[in-house]
C-alpha cells in the first residue's frame, strides 16, 4: 500500500471535515491534507499549483457556489485532468448520483457517508 502524500478535501460541512481529518490522521497513510470549503477556491489552487498536484481529491456533491458536479465538469476540462483521482464522499445514496458519477473519468469511486476506517482502506486499494 502506497502512502498518499497530498489529499484535498472539498466539502462545506465543517463537522464532517473535522471528523474526516481525524479519521485520516488516525489512518497514518495520508501525509498532507488540505481542506476547501468551495469548488471555486480549489479550482483556483489547482490551476495555480504548478505541478503540485494532489494524489487524492475527496469531493462532496451538495455545496454552495459550485456543486460537486459543476466542479467535476470544470476539472475534466483541465488539460492535466488525467492526473486527478477524485473520490466522491456524499450523504447521497441516490442511484442516479452513482450513475452520473461514472460519466466522469476522474472519479475513481463513489463513497457514501458515513466514512469509516474500512472505507478509507478500500480507497487506498486504488494505489
Amino acid at each position: 500500500m502506497k502512502k498518499i502524500d497530498l489529499t484535498y478535501i472539498l466539502d462545506d460541512d465543517n463537522i464532517f471535515i473535522f471528523v474526516l481529518m481525524k479519521l485520516l490522521a488516525k489512518n497514518e497513510n495520508f501525509n498532507r491534507v488540505l481542506e476547501f470549503k468551495n469548488g471555486k477556491d480549489l479550482l483556483e489552487t489547482l490551476t495555480n499549483s504548478e505541478g503540485n498536484i494532489p494524489n487524492v481529491i475527496l469531493l462532496d456533491i451538495n455545496m454552495p457556489v459550485l456543486d460537486g458536479w459543476q466542479f467535476l465538469e470544470k476539472l475534466e476540462a483541465m488539460p492535466n485532468k488525467d492526473h486527478f483521482n477524485v473520490f466522491i464522499m456524499t450523504s447521497s445514496i441516490d442511484a442516479n448520483d452513482i450513475e452520473k458519477s461514472k460519466l466522469f473519468s476522474t472519479v475513481k469511486d463513489f463513497i457514501s457517508k458515513p466514512i469509516n476506517k474500512e472505507k478509507l482502506d478500500r480507497l487506498l486499494d486504488y494505489f
Partner: protein, 941 residues
C-alpha cells in the same frame, strides 16, 4: 559413242533426277568424285578437279575412258555392293609424277529398275589431296577452314530455324534437329526411344490414314517429295498441328531408303483457320436462319413468330435455351422458352421486376446485354440465386426488345455448363432476332388496333341501329341520314325527318330553348369546333316535349364550312328528372344546414360560395363579409399558434386527396375574441386532383376546450406537486442522512479514544451536529405545513400597506446598509392571500437584496406593483451582486441552494418564498445579471 564421255553425260542426267545424291555430293566434298562403269569396268571418269589436284595439266580425250581408268587404281570386292550406301573404300590414285596417292572414297550405287548396279559414284573424302601434288599446302588449309565454317553455318542454321528436321533411314530415326525435339516436346531420352517406335503411332488416329496414304502413295510413285498436314502427339501428350515436307530418297532399285523431313508447327495457324471456318459456318447458319425468318409470311400468328425466334436463337447461337420475356405490370413474364435438348417450348416462369432493378435498368440502357462475370457483375447479381445458379447458366446474351417506342421485353439467350464468349456476330444475330420480334410485336399491335377498329365500326353500326341514341347526319344543310332509333323515339318516320328543313327542326325545339340552342350551335360552328354538346327539349310526334342531349361531331371543309354534321341525340328526360330531384334534395339539405346549430361553409373554386346562418351567428361576421373572404382571409383569422399546425395539415390532406378530415383551431370572431372550433371537412376533387368543393361543418368547442385546459392545468399542478414531493423526499433523505452520518462518525471516533481532551472535543461536535439536525427537521416541518396549507387562511390584503409594514420591521438594517428604497404601488391594490406568508416573502426579498449587495455601490431597491390582465405583478429590483442564471437556473428556488458562499446563507429563503407564493396560488420568476442586479417578479391572483 564418238567424242562424248557417256559416263559424264549419264551421270549428270541422273543427278537431275536424284536430288539426294546431288545434295550428298555438294554437302560432302563437292567437286572431287569419279564415276565408274560397273557394267564395263574398264571405263572410269574422274572429275576435272581431281585431275587438277593430281597435277595433270590436261584431261585425257573425252572418249578415252580406259586412260581415265589407269589414273585411278580401284578395285571392288564382289560383296562390297551389298553393303551400306554410302560405303567407304580405300583407293589409290596416281599423280602426274607417277606417284601413288592413297585416299578414301564414299561409294554410292546407281541402280537400274531391276536394282542391278549400273554405276558406282565415288566421292573422295575431304582432305584426300593432302599429299596429292605435294604443293599448295597453305591453300589446302584455307579450304579446310572454309569448309569448317560452312559446316558450322549449316549446323547453326539447322539448329536455329523454327522448322524441325529429322531423317529416317530404313524406317529408323537417324537424325532429329534440336528444333524438332523442342517442337515435339521430346527429351533426348524420348528421342532415343522413338528411334525404335513406329513413327506413325505419333500421328492422330483421325489423320493416320491420310498420312500413310500420302507417304506410301508418294513412295509408290517415286515422288521425290510429299507434303502433308496432320496432328502429331507431342512428348507432353498433346496433339500439335504439323505440316511436314518429306523428301524421299530412293535407291537404285527404286526402294525408298531415306526420308528427310522438314516439319513445321502450324498449330496456331490451324486453330485460327478452324476458328475462322467455324465462325464462317456460324455466320452462314445465322444468315441462313435470318433469311428464312424474314422470308416467312408475316401473316403468322405472333405466338408462332415468337416460337420461331426462340428456336432460331437456340440453333443459330448453338445454345440450349432461348426465351422471350415480356415486361408487364412490374412482372417479367416468360412468354416462350425453347429448350433445344428436350425440344420443347414452355412459358410459366415469372420474375418480379422490383426484385431485379439493376438488371432491368442495365438491359434498358443497352442494345445487347452480355457479361463474362455474371456471378459477380452488379447488374446480374440479383438473378443468381433464383435463376442463374439453379439453371447452371454460365453466359448470357440478353437483348432488349422495344416495340411501339417502349421497353417491351427481352430475348434471353443462355449458355450452360462451360464458359462461352459471344462473338460480334452472335450479338448481331441476337439483335436481328430481337428486331424481328419488335417488328412482329408492332405489327401485332397494329393488327390488334385494326381488328378493334373494325369491331368499333361494326359496333358503331350496331349501336346506331339498336340504341336509344338517335343519330342524324347533316351534309350541306340537308339531312342525309336518320337512324331508326331517332325516328323511333321521335315518332317521326325516317322519310318525314329527311324532308325537314333546318328551320323545321328548330321549330320542334321548345320555345324556351330555341334561341339559346341556335346561339350555341352557330357560335360553335363559327369557331369550327369539332365536338360540342347541348341540352334542349324536343317535341315528339305525340306533342310531348322530351329532354334531349345532343353531341355534335363536325367535320369542316377547308373554307370553314362544315361538310358533315353528325349528331348523336340522347334521351335525358330521366336524368333531368333526377336533376330536379337533386335540386329538391339540395334544397332539403339547405333547409337542414340553415337550421342546425353547427355552421356550414362551402368553398368552391377558391371562393366561399355558401355560409349557413348558424355559421354567420357563430362568429358574428356579416354574411356578405364572409362571401367575400378568400381562403387567405379565413386563415388570417386563425390563432397564430394554430395556423402553423392546421394550415399544413389541411394542405397535406388536400394533397393526399382525403375526402374527409377534422381539425381543431381557434378562430377570431368579429369582436377580436378567439373561439375554439372543430371543423369537419368534406372535399370533392375534380379529375385533375384539384379540390372543386370544400364543405365544412363547424362546431363551437370553446366549452370543451376550456374543460380540457382546466384538466391540463390540474394535471400540470399534480405533476408539479409530484416533482416537488420527489425533490422533497430527496432533500429529506440527503439532509437528514448528512447529519446522522456525521453523528455516527463522531460516535465511532468517540468510542475509539480514551483521551478525555479528545472526547470533550467530540462531545462538542456531537452537540453541534444534533442542533443542525433539529434545525433541519424544523424547516422541513415548516415546508410541509405550508404545502399542505395548514396555516394559510386567505384574506384580502392591501399590498402597499403590507410592504410598508415589512419595511418598518427591518428599518435598522436598511439604515445601516444605506439602502435607498423606491416604492411605486397604487394605494388600493389588493391581493388575496395569507398575511404571514406575504410578510415572510417581502421580508426575504428585502433582506436578500441587502445581504447580497454589491461591495462597489450602495444598495438601491425598486419595488413596484400593478395589475396586468387578471394578475397583480409585484417586482423587487436590486442593484446587487446578481446571480449567474446560466448555471443556476434550475436550482435557484431549490432547497439548501446558496449562490454566493456567504457563511450565513442557509439556502432556504428562496425555497420558502416559492412555497409561500405557490400556496397562495401565485407564481414567482427571476431575472438577473451578475454584477448588475436581480429582479424578482411575483404574480398574485
Amino acid at each position: 559413242m564418238g567424242n562424248s564421255n557417256y559416263l559424264k553425260d549419264d551421270f549428270y542426267q541422273h543427278l537431275k533426277g536424284d536430288e539426294e545424291l546431288f545434295g550428298k555430293i555438294i554437302t560432302s566434298n563437292g567437286k572431287y568424285f569419279f564415276v565408274w562403269d560397273y557394267v564395263n569396268q574398264e571405263h572410269l571418269w574422274i572429275s576435272g578437279s581431281v585431275l587438277k589436284k593430281l597435277g595433270f595439266k590436261s584431261e585425257p580425250p573425252e572418249n578415252d575412258l580406259t586412260t581415265w581408268k589407269s589414273r585411278l587404281k580401284f578395285t571392288l570386292a564382289p560383296n562390297d555392293t551389298l553393303q551400306g550406301n554410302p560405303s567407304k573404300k580405300e583407293i589409290t590414285l596416281e599423280n602426274s609424277q607417277k606417284i601413288t596417292i592413297k585416299a578414301t572414297a564414299n561409294l554410292f550405287y546407281i541402280r537400274n529398275q531391276e536394282k542391278e548396279i549400273l554405276r558406282v559414284l565415288g566421292v573422295l573424302e575431304k582432305n584426300w589431296f593432302k599429299d596429292a601434288s605435294g604443293a599448295k599446302i597453305s591453300k589446302k588449309n584455307k579450304f579446310e577452314k572454309t569448309l569448317q565454317e560452312s559446316q558450322n553455318r549449316f549446323k547453326f542454321i539447322s539448329e536455329n530455324i523454327s522448322d524441325g528436321i529429322y531423317i529416317i533411314e530404313n524406317d529408323q530415326l537417324v537424325f532429329a534437329s534440336k528444333a524438332y525435339l523442342k517442337m515435339m516436346d521430346l527429351s533426348e531420352e524420348q528421342k532415343q526411344q522413338s528411334h525404335k517406335k513406329d513413327m506413325f503411332c505419333m500421328v492422330h488416329p483421325d489423320d493416320l490414314e491420310m498420312v500413310k496414304g500420302a507417304i506410301y502413295g508418294a513412295a509408290e510413285n517415286k515422288q521425290p517429295s510429299v507434303k502433308y498436314i496432320f496432328r502429331c502427339l507431342t512428348g507432353k501428350g498433346e496433339y500439335k498441328w504439323r505440316e511436314d515436307i518429306m523428301n524421299i530418297h530412293y535407291d537404285a532399285s527404286g526402294k525408298a531408303f531415306r526420308a528427310i523431313t522438314i516439319a513445321r508447327d502450324i498449330t496456331q495457324e490451324k486453330i485460327e483457320k478452324i476458328e475462322s471456318i467455324k465462325k464462317q459456318e456460324s455466320i452462314d447458319l445465322q444468315n441462313q436462319l435470318l433469311i428464312k425468318l424474314y422470308s416467312n409470311v408475316m401473316d403468322n400468328a405472333l405466338e408462332n413468330k415468337i416460337k420461331e425466334v426462340t428456336i432460331l436463337a437456340a440453333k443459330g447461337l448453338t445454345i440450349d435455351r432461348a426465351s422471350f420475356w415480356e415486361i408487364k405490370n412490374e412482372e417479367l413474364i416468360c412468354k416462350n422458352l425453347f429448350d433445344k435438348i428436350e425440344e420443347v417450348h414452355s412459358s410459366d416462369a415469372i420474375l418480379d421486376v422490383r426484385t431485379i432493378p439493376k438488371y432491368i435498368s442495365a438491359l434498358n440502357n443497352k442494345t445487347a446485354f452480355t457479361t463474362d462475370e455474371m456471378y459477380t457483375d452488379q447488374d446480374t447479381i440479383e438473378l443468381i440465386d433464383n435463376y442463374l445458379r439453379p439453371l447452371g447458366v454460365t453466359d448470357m446474351l440478353d437483348v432488349p426488345i422495344r416495340a411501339n417506342g417502349k421497353f417491351y421485353g427481352v430475348l434471353c439467350c443462355e449458355h450452360r455448363d462451360n464458359p462461352r464468349v459471344w462473338s460480334e456476330n452472335d450479338i448481331s444475330f441476337a439483335r436481328a432476332l430481337a428486331d424481328y420480334l419488335s417488328l412482329a410485336l408492332e405489327e401485332d399491335s397494329r393488327k390488334q388496333a385494326e381488328i378493334k377498329l373494325n369491331e368499333n365500326q361494326e359496333k358503331l353500326k350496331f349501336i346506331a341501329e339498336n340504341t336509344s341514341d338517335g343519330i342524324l347526319v347533316f351534309e350541306s344543310n340537308a339531312m342525309t341520314y336518320v337512324s331508326p332509333a331517332y325516328s323511333k323515339f321521335s315518332g317521326y318516320s325516317e322519310e318525314y325527318m329527311q324532308n325537314l328543313s333546318l328551320e323545321n327542326i328548330f321549330s320542334l325545339v321548345h320555345p324556351e330553348d330555341r334561341e339559346r340552342l341556335r346561339i350555341i350551335i352557330y357560335s360553335n360552328l363559327g369557331k369550327q369546333k369539332q365536338n360540342f354538346s347541348y341540352e334542349y327539349r324536343f317535341k315528339g310526334s305525340d306533342g310531348e316535349y322530351q329532354w334531349r342531349e345532343d353531341s355534335a361531331n363536325v367535320i369542316y371543309k377547308p373554307d370553314g364550312m362544315y361538310s358533315k354534321y353528325i349528331l348523336i341525340s340522347r334521351d335525358i328526360t330521366e336524368r333531368k328528372k333526377t336533376e330536379r330531384q337533386l335540386i329538391e334534395s339540395e334544397q332539403q339539405l339547405r333547409l337542414i344546414t340553415e337550421n342546425t346549430s353547427d355552421g356550414v361553409l362551402v368553398i368552391e373554386n377558391g371562393k366561399l360560395s355558401y355560409v349557413s346562418p348558424s355559421y354567420v351567428k357563430l362568429l358574428n361576421y356579416p354574411k356578405e363579409v364572409y362571401l367575400n373572404f378568400t381562403p387567405e382571409d379565413v386563415y388570417s383569422r386563425f390563432h397564430p399558434d394554430d395556423i402553423v399546425t392546421v394550415q399544413p395539415f389541411i394542405q397535406e390532406c388536400l394533397a393526399r386527396h382525403l375526402k374527409e378530415f377534422k381539425y381543431e383551431f381557434r378562430f377570431r370572431a368579429s369582436d377580436g375574441e378567439y373561439h375554439w372550433r372543430e371543423d369537419s371537412a368534406n372535399v370533392i376533387y375534380d379529375e385533375n386532383g384539384k379540390y372543386s368543393k370544400y364543405i365544412v361543418v363547424t362546431r363551437d368547442i370553446s366549452a370543451r376546450k376550456e374543460a380540457e385546459k382546466e384538466k391540463n392545468r390540474l394535471f400540470q399542478i399534480t405533476e408539479k406537486q409530484n416533482e416537488k414531493l420527489i425533490n422533497f423526499t430527496h432533500i429529506v433523505s440527503h439532509d437528514i442522512r448528512s447529519h446522522t452520518s456525521n453523528l455516527s462518525m463522531i460516535l465511532d471516533l468517540f468510542e475509539e479514544t480514551t483521551d478525555p481532551q479528545e472526547q470533550k472535543e467530540y462531545f462538542s461536535m456531537l452537540k453541534q451536529s444534533t442542533d443542525k439536525l433539529s434545525d433541519t427537521i424544523f424547516f422541513l416541518n415548516e415546508t410541509v405545513a405550508i404545502q399542505s396549507g395548514e396555516k394559510g387562511k386567505k384574506v384580502r390584503l392591501n399590498l402597499k400597506k403590507e410592504i410598508e409594514k415589512a419595511i418598518l420591521g427591518i428599518n435598522a438594517i436598511i439604515k445601516t446598509n444605506k439602502v435607498r428604497l423606491k416604492i411605486n404601488i397604487e394605494d388600493h391594490l389588493e391581493i388575496e392571500g395569507t398575511q404571514s406568508y406575504l410578510e415572510s416573502i417581502i421580508f426575504n426579498l428585502l433582506t436578500n437584496a441587502i445581504k447580497y449587495k454589491s461591495p462597489e455601490r450602495d444598495p438601491v431597491i425598486k419595488i413596484k406593483a400593478g395589475k396586468i390582465a387578471e394578475e397583480i405583478k409585484l417586482s423587487v429590483q436590486d442593484n446587487g451582486l446578481g446571480i449567474d442564471l446560466e448555471t443556476n437556473k434550475d436550482k435557484i428556488f431549490g432547497m439548501y441552494k446558496t449562490f454566493h458562499g456567504n457563511p450565513d446563507a442557509v439556502g432556504l429563503g428562496l425555497f420558502m418564498m416559492k412555497n409561500h407564493i405557490e400556496s397562495m396560488g401565485g407564481s414567482i420568476d427571476v431575472e438577473s445579471e451578475v454584477g448588475v442586479g436581480t429582479t424578482f417578479n411575483l404574480y398574485f391572483i
